[in-house]
Symmetry: C2
Subunit: 310 residues, 2 copies
């Protein structure tokens, strides 16, 4: 079952240096979750072969600055021009519904599908979405305007029955549910086979935290503790620490410090200032603090492999 992040845009503020403004897609099983939607997101979805867009049923928006949302009008109306029927829900801080409704009204746009808006808090960590696969929880961030990150976490699964054991003990299918629910199995001659012997541990729940835009915030560490994948903005390097503080952003070193404190699996950098054409020094700055750091760049896919631990 895939758990895969694709970067659609890695630059901050404006498109520059061949990079685009923020958008990412997280695939969990066969569902796609769009996170932020900078201008041109619909084009990048095509560029990176994310063609089955009907599978995007939720969009999570961190904040209402243009470089995170100006792709929405085009994406939402293109869905409609392609006669989308699947409903769509957008999670965001307050104000987005009013903006989108004005855009749809004045551009004479009528959507072919149901569009729903959910306003999420930006000052506390609460679960805002769940389905059978995942939960999504907000991560309060500190930017110039109300901003939230999102923690995507797979749900815990029950242990799986081992096919080889079904055969070995000739287990009737009527017994499967009881075993799945934690029961042992008793053979016809009365021998008890312990639950653990006939099942294997489920895959560990995988997790991804999206944290942009924000200053250095140690308060997020408990929320993102131990995530497999952390995207944390690295708009600047330490040489521009003052700009980072002034504009509500982080440096690569600060992001890596958060990654280290939270003991995450991997840090993905992004939301780069246009002043950085070559990002190698920025990546090195992150790696100097947290070695398993890498650059998020347009088209990059990062997969979290399934792991089982007995």
């Amino acid at each position: 079952m895939p758990f895969q992040l694709t970067i659609l845009g890695s630059n901050s503020a404006v498109p520059a240096n061949g990079r685009f403004t923020t958008a990412q897609v997280l695939q969990v099983k066969n569902k796609l979750y769009l996170i932020d939607c900078g201008e041109g997101t619909q084009t990048r979805l095509g560029d990176y072969n994310i063609s089955r867009r009907e599978r995007i049923e939720q969009i999570f928006i961190s904040h209402l600055h243009g470089d995170h949302i100006f792709g929405l009008p085009g994406l939402l109306t293109s869905f409609s021009l392609n006669n989308r029927k699947a409903p769509l829900t957008i999670y965001s801080p307050a104000g987005l519904q009013e903006m989108i409704e004005a855009i749809l009204k004045y551009s004479y746009s009528h959507l072919s599908y149901d569009l729903k808006f959910v306003v999420v808090p930006t000052n506390k960590s609460v679960q805002v979405f769940d389905n059978k696969d995942i939960t999504v929880t907000t991560i309060p961030l500190n930017h110039r305007i109300p901003t939230t990150g999102y923690l995507f976490k797979e749900k815990e699964k029950v242990r799986n029955i081992r096919p080889d054991k079904i055969e070995e003990y000739n287990i009737h299918y009527s017994k499967i549910n009881a075993i799945k629910n934690g029961g042992d199995f008793t053979t016809e001659d009365g021998k008890v086979i312990p639950h653990k012997e006939i099942t294997i541990a489920p895959p560990l729940p995988r997790s991804f935290a999206f944290c942009s835009d924000t200053t250095y915030q140690e308060s997020i560490v408990p929320i993102i503790k131990g995530v497999d994948l952390l995207y944390h903005e690295t708009t600047y390097m330490e040489d521009a620490k003052e700009s980072a503080a002034k504009y509500g952003h982080s440096t690569a070193k600060e992001a890596a410090t958060i990654a280290k404190m939270a003991g995450v699996g991997k840090l993905i950098c992004g939301h780069y200032s246009s002043r950085y054409g070559d990002l190698t020094p920025l990546e090195e700055e992150a790696k100097s603090v947290f070695p398993n750091s890498e650059l998020g760049l347009e088209g990059k896919c990062v997969t979290v492999a399934a792991r089982r631990v007995e």
Copy 2:
């Protein structure tokens, strides 16, 4: 003095087949006039080396469908992020100001320059702009919503004085203005040199008509009569004539018929339906009626050379 059109987007409705939604830039002398602004226009301006964006002081919008305006939020705020100071005026049918103001409000955007909106009529041909170089006149079109084309026309210039004649007759600079205003020149020994001998004809005023989106409208022929360059939408081919009528568009044959009736210099096709991957048949359809037709495609520049006629 250049008079040059650059195509930034040639597809209709949605980006597809490597093509983008409508935007064009007309350069006249050192000024740039942006016409429509589909999503990603700011990126294409960079792609095609139109970097001195401060020279765009006017934007002309044909109508408020998203594929003609969804690049505005990004462009307008990027101007500001680059600390633009030059004022900007947007000409469009009614409603755009309300939409843009809602977008700026909810995205917490504050512009660094003065932005002015001018509502233009869509039911009559009137001059809506002029400066020392050009006039811009509306062209009423027939689409599903209020839509206007724009006729860009260089102003007539006075005859220029020939430098060789200044030398030959030793003309004092104090006499120049009188000659420019149509006077003859009298030499010291009383010989009258006729105005025409010491001046040359000014370049002929060049003109460009932008006509999108529209059904086949013979009523525009008198307005665009004899323009050097006509951009007329060719969303469909004749095989989809019914779709053209249904959605308020034209076929390549229809556009070429208008070009022929108006006796234009060259027809530029565009606003192609996504159904056409290969546009060769569409170009052939236009050429079969009006041979001097060509495809408008992203990055294409079409220059109208200066001509003088005595």
